[in-house]
């Protein structure tokens, strides 16, 4: 390279750096200026205690306070308590919270009650509030779950992940295990693509654990006999892979749930899904009957299961955090096993292959600090803060995050989890757009738990649940 060329490149590099520094300082200037009007304000938020939420509390909130002078107190609590507190606050109009976590499945209920501020409109009405680094176009399509009928955004996405099929690469690649599996089943050991394959692998490893005296089982199961987590695993992760979508309820057919009325909740496919899952539960580690989403991840991280369906929010720490996980560097990621036809349904948009989980921060209409809260929500939505957040919580809500070198490095450790989220996330789906989410779940859950304990036969239990669903929907006024 000639001297002139070197000089030219240097000048360009300096110019780019100067522009970046200038942009950064102008951003800092914006936050400082915007925060001036809200000195002394303390924002209160409530969210579930998860890795992504804890990052907001421990990292983003202090950073925001440093830039703006606005204090942010984030309360991280259990999933049940979070909803209890948020709903009571918004229902009573007390205005305690300026930000509430909205899980994707509750957004429809909140929108139906007009609990949330239209953030798009708020920024249109207050252009001075709009941060130069905030743009709704930065979000992935997951943000669409939080849009109202007018297309405006009612929640700022803060986490998004898919419930994936994790498997132990060390076991699947072990020549001794492979040979034993081949001898027993006549086929090569590789991640399952069908339920039959998954069951075969699970049975094999549970037996392998027994024979070799190790604490190893063939699968995880989120099968708590008194917590809603089991209900969700069945309806959102298992039943869809048997072609039973939207909990088996047909919203376009007067919310029918029973087969007799046009629903699918007690269909043959739903019953097959239930029996498949109950069998997996029986060959899963004994703690499975007390496991919610968190414990399933812990079981997998403890090296007690060869494979399992695990919420993506846990994928990063399972695969990379040696202080918590015994299977660092031994985790593979794959699509969930499914019945024939389900993938075609997912690709055509008629169905889906698993649960696309996630949530947003919403701004309650009852908040007394809407503008200051909107500043904070924009702050956490910037591309600039996303990469480290993704590393801490394996969550991605902005398109640009996928291209960050740190994220790509973690993606390699995760055997392509983020790549799967980006490329195949569209095949997964969040909860159906029902405003009666928790109500229907709690009405049918007692029957569901009795199926799990064996007090009610699975076929009969699903019949009862479908009837109870229709009864509840009628009582709530949705089914005519």
């Amino acid at each position: 390279m000639s001297f002139i060329s070197k000089l030219g490149v240097s000048v360009i590099a300096l110019a780019v750096s100067a522009t970046a520094v200038s942009a950064e300082s102008s951003n800092a200037a914006f936050w400082a200026e915007a925060g001036k009007a809200y000195q002394g304000v303390t924002l209160h938020g409530v969210t579930e205690s998860t890795p992504p939420s804890n990052y907001v509390k421990d990292v983003l909130a202090p950073e925001f306070e440093k830039l703006t002078g606005i204090r942010v107190d984030i309360e991280t609590t259990s999933w049940d308590q979070m909803y209890d507190k948020a709903i009571k606050d918004m229902e009573a109009g007390t205005g305690i919270y300026d930000m509430v976590y909205i899980e994707q499945d509750i957004i429809y209920a909140y929108l139906s009650r007009n609990f949330l501020v239209d953030t798009t409109q708020l920024l249109k009405d207050n252009p001075a509030l709009k941060a130069p680094t905030y743009d709704e176009a930065n979000f992935t399509t997951f943000a669409n779950y939080f849009r109202g009928e007018n297309g405006d955004l009612f929640g700022i996405p803060m986490e998004a992940f898919i419930k994936v099929y994790l498997y132990r690469t060390d076991l699947f690649n072990d020549p001794e295990v492979q040979a034993a599996f081949k001898e027993k089943t006549g086929r090569d050991l590789k991640p399952a693509t069908t339920h039959a394959e998954y069951t075969e692998i699970a049975e094999f490893f549970t037996q392998w654990g027994k024979d070799h005296g190790g604490d190893l089982w063939g699968t995880t199961a989120q099968a708590h006999t008194g917590h809603a987590a089991s209900w969700y695993e069945y309806f959102e992760s298992i039943a869809p892979t048997f072609g039973v979508y939207n909990w088996g309820i047909d919203a376009n057919n007067n919310y029918a749930a029973t087969v007799a009325n046009g629903g699918q909740m007690n269909s043959d496919a739903a019953k097959a899904a239930m029996k498949y899952w109950l069998h997996l539960r029986d060959i899963a580690p004994p703690e499975s009957v007390q496991s919610t989403w968190t414990e399933v991840a812990t079981t997998f991280a403890a090296g007690r299961a060869a494979q399992g369906l695990v919420y993506g929010e846990n994928a990063a720490w399972i695969a990379s955090d040696e202080s918590k996980s015994r299977v660092v560097g031994k985790v593979g990621v794959a699509m969930p096993p499914m019945e024939a036809g389900v993938m075609a349904d997912a690709e055509s948009g008629k169905g889906y292959v698993g649960y696309y989980d996630g949530g947003a921060f919403g701004l309650p209409i009852t908040s007394k600090n809407k503008e200051a809260a909107m500043l904070f929500l924009q702050f956490i939505a910037q591309d600039e803060v996303q990469a480290d957040w993704a590393l801490a919580g394996s969550r991605i809500t902005n398109n640009a995050t996928y291209d960050d070198p740190k994220v790509q490095e973690l993606d390699a450790k995760l055997n392509g989890y983020f790549t799967m989220l980006r490329d195949q996330g569209k095949l997964f789906a969040g909860a159906p757009p029902y405003p009666f989410h928790a109500q229907l779940r709690e009405a049918t859950a007692p029957i569901f738990y009795q199926i799990l304990t064996g007090a009610i036969d699975p076929d009969k239990g699903l019949d009862m649940m479908a009837e109870k669903s229709e009864e509840e929907l009628k009582a709530l006024g949705y089914r005519k």
């Binding site: 006999t225 008194g226 703690e287 009957v289 007390q290 007690r304 928790a438 109500q439």
Partner: protein
Amino acid sequence: MHPNKLGWLLLAPTMLILFLFGVVPFFYVIWVSFHQWNPFAADPSMIFNWASNYRQLVFDAQFMASLGVTLAFVFFAVLSELVIGYLLAQAFMKDFPGKAFFRTIHTLPLIMAPIIVGSIWKLMTTPSIGIIPSLLDSWFGYNLNIGQSAMAAFITTVVMDIWHWTPLVTLSLIAALVSLPADPFEQAQIDGANKRQIFWHITLPMIRPAIIATVFIRLMDAMRTVDEVLMLTGGGPGSATRYVGVHIFKEVFPRTNYGYGSAISVIVLYLTIVVCWLLYVGLIAPRNTKKG
């Protein structure tokens, strides 16, 4: 200022707080119980439905089952706490090395929030990581899994309640025992009474007011137990530990069935009063009648 007026003035803040946070919510719950109200229904408004909620709960198998297991829980937990509490109180009446240390240790569960107690017991009873299943397995070959066995879950909740609340009973009974005069015991010993006779005819009658007060407190507490059980079992397996407090929680909070949940709350309050009244009639009233 007239002493009466001053008295009322000094009481006024307490009465105002009690009125605002006790009386008003109580009547509000009664008012809500006569309505159909679910804020996430197609019609989220409160609709007056007379006594429909009360009629519904009589035929609600889930509620009846819940009431049944609650009464069983209360019976076993409170009775056990009373017996163990009395034995411990008697033990602490005697001098032995390390008495002060053991008395302090034994009261520690009392200062723990119920939700913490539930978490601790969950950790201790989870198969594979819990110390209790591990010990039971190595000592007796018994496989404890409270997510699977209804009976094991029920017994564990009772044991957890005993662990948490027996110290309260012990402390109450120690207070009663230390205040007993020595004369009747000395006279009984001179007259040749044995330990059983002294317990039955002197100790028990003299500490009966303390026992009854303690039983009332524990009974009311046990009837409304929620946090510990919700954390430990979630009401499961199935509905094995879905005590009325847990049942009300699930109806009112996740299901947001405010009207029906309020009706259950009112009935449970009424039942608690009835049970206390029955105890009063059975244990205190006959004695007062004899005195009269």
